[in-house]
Amino acid sequence: MGEKEDTLQGIKQNIVDGKAEVTFELTNKSLGMGNTPLETLAAMTDAMNVVGDLYAAKKYFLPNVLTSANAFDKGFSLVQPKLLEGAGSRPKMAKVVIGVCEGDIHDIGKKIVVAMLRGGGFEVFDLGRDIPNQEFIDKAVQEKADIIAQSALMSTSITEMRDLMDLLREGGIRDQFKVMIGGGSATPEFGEKIGVDGYGLTSAEAVEVAGRLSK
């Protein structure tokens, strides 16, 4: 392997290992030595796919996934501006506006999904946690998003999902967005009842559902 390929492999391994500072340095080196932003991002997304597989196989758990996601974010902070510079020449990425429902601060699962979605090639707008429904809608309208994704761990927050659907219908914009839900409290039955387009139990499922919905 040449030095360029070694660097990409290094980025991948350090994201898997959750080493943020080394990832940042290697990403900087990669971009500086002539690897394109897309090549560098590909190594990063490969890493998150590995992390996703390890998580699905119950070999990685929350602390591991978060440290990997943190390393990914560090590297991505360097890649993103370069990607935006060349945005016109790239194929359009489906846009996902994602967040945790109002009243719920549990955004761990959502963070994992965000990392996996980015790894899966989506353009993700992560609103964070405890987000009012109107903020989801405003951001989705502003960004012309394809998908709104909501998560709730607490049973006290799950009703926000129903309210989001009501708001979209009342606003006459239900058809503009696909809506998917997940999190500890959401169930496929509940999703069906409130009329969402997709439900994902795991982060891997979330990426698969988002892929299906964005076609």
């Binding site: 049973s155 799950i158 509940f190």
Partner: protein, 368 residues
């Protein structure tokens, strides 16, 4: 024929893994009572103060409405102490929402030096926690002679996540800076023991409920072994030593797996928990065989809160109760509980029928 028991005798029988007169119901109410009163959270709590009298009224109201068997003596959320330690919480105005943390007291390592000086935070002296204790006193005065009043707080990792650090940062600490994570968890665990003790001092009179959010849902068995088990052990031992009361553990994640099942043994044999209250991933027949019969501790038979309890229909609630009673009820040692808290907007008719039907169908000796 089993003689009719008081609620206290019923719960006592279950804790001792004996047959009660009927299956007791523990609804794990945190916010439902507030909404049952027709209030919103700001009617009862601000970021810094809480109305202990209203908290007690809400608790007593649901007890009167549904006649369940064991109650937490107060309204609860996860964030008592946060404001006092320099963090920020948000009290939602919307029906059904729960209090959330906007900013943890320990945002980075430097904050810990400041916050550590304020620990252990004394719940008896000030803030919303003090009102929790007032609520316990009132509820105990009203119904304490007949009703098991349960103290409830979270053990180390969950307490540290909620009170000090936030979930993401604490989880990363567990991977990147273990000694710092342990320091935070130990400090929060000491608060948990003290807060539970204060609840006993103010009227709690029964088994202790400690619930943790991480579990094997979010941590590996190895990580639980390191970051959860020792703190549950310390908590349960201290509570038993001080008050002679046993502790049951509510937890999340799938404990049926080969790598996670041994943790139950650790919780029972090392941490000395007296009951196991998992989430809805655990079928009643599995709990009966692999927890109650194997370890001789009591179990919670589970109804999924956001499922049948919230959404009904009544026939599905009844079907679930029959399934749980038939498969986890034989031999006693089983209480009915939701997988986590009863959702705040659970329809009263669903809640009522759940309790009634547990009592009707769950009469001992079971003859179904």
């Amino acid at each position: 024929m089993v003689e009719a028991m008081t609620k206290k005798e019923r719960v006592e029988a279950v804790m001792e893994v004996r047959e009660p007169d009927r299956v007791p119901v523990y609804p794990y109410i945190l916010t439902h009572g507030v909404y049952a009163m027709g209030w919103k959270l700001p009617d009862m709590t601000t970021e810094t103060t809480m109305d202990g009298v209203k908290s007690a009224q809400a608790t007593l109201k649901t007890l009167e409405m549904y006649d369940y068997d064991m109650c937490i003596g107060t309204y609860q959320d996860l964030y008592f102490g946060v404001t006092e330690l320099g963090g920020k919480i948000k009290i939602p105005t919307k029906f059904g929402s729960a209090v959330s943390m906007k900013e943890p007291p320990v945002k980075d390592h430097n904050d810990w030096e400041r916050v550590q000086k304020m620990m252990p935070y004394d719940p008896r002296k000030s803030g919303r926690a003090k009102s929790v204790l007032e609520s316990y006193r009132i509820v105990s005065d009203k119904v304490g002679k007949t009703t098991p009043i349960i103290p409830c707080w979270w053990p180390g990792p969950t307490a540290a996540m909620c009170m000090l650090r936030g979930p993401e940062a604490l989880s990363m600490d567990m991977a990147l800076d273990k000694s710092f994570a342990h320091e935070l968890i130990e400090s929060a665990n000491d608060f948990a023991i003290d807060f539970l003790s204060a609840m006993y001092e103010n009227g709690a009179n029964s088994v202790c409920h400690t619930g943790e959010i991480y579990g094997v849902e979010l941590l590996s068995a190895e990580q639980c072994h390191e970051f959860v088990v020792p703190y549950v052990k310390k908590l349960s031992q201290e509570i038993y030593k001080k008050f002679g009361q046993k502790t049951w553990l509510h937890t999340h994640g799938d404990y049926k797996r080969e790598d996670t099942y041994p943790l139950i043994g650790e919780y029972v044999e090392d941490a000395k928990i007296a009951g196991f209250h998992p989430d809805d991933k655990h079928p009643p027949e599995w709990l009966q065989k692999n927890v109650k019969e194997k370890y001789h501790i009591f179990i919670a038979g589970i109804i999924h809160g956001p499922g049948p309890l919230l959404q009904g229909p009544i026939s599905e609630i009844e079907r679930t109760v029959r399934d749980v009673v038939d498969k986890a009820g034989p031999g006693g040692g089983m209480m009915m509980a939701p997988s986590c808290e009863v959702p705040p907007d659970t329809p009263p008719e669903n809640f009522r029928r759940w309790v009634e039907y547990c009592h009707e169908y769950g009469k001992y000796p079971l003859v179904h």
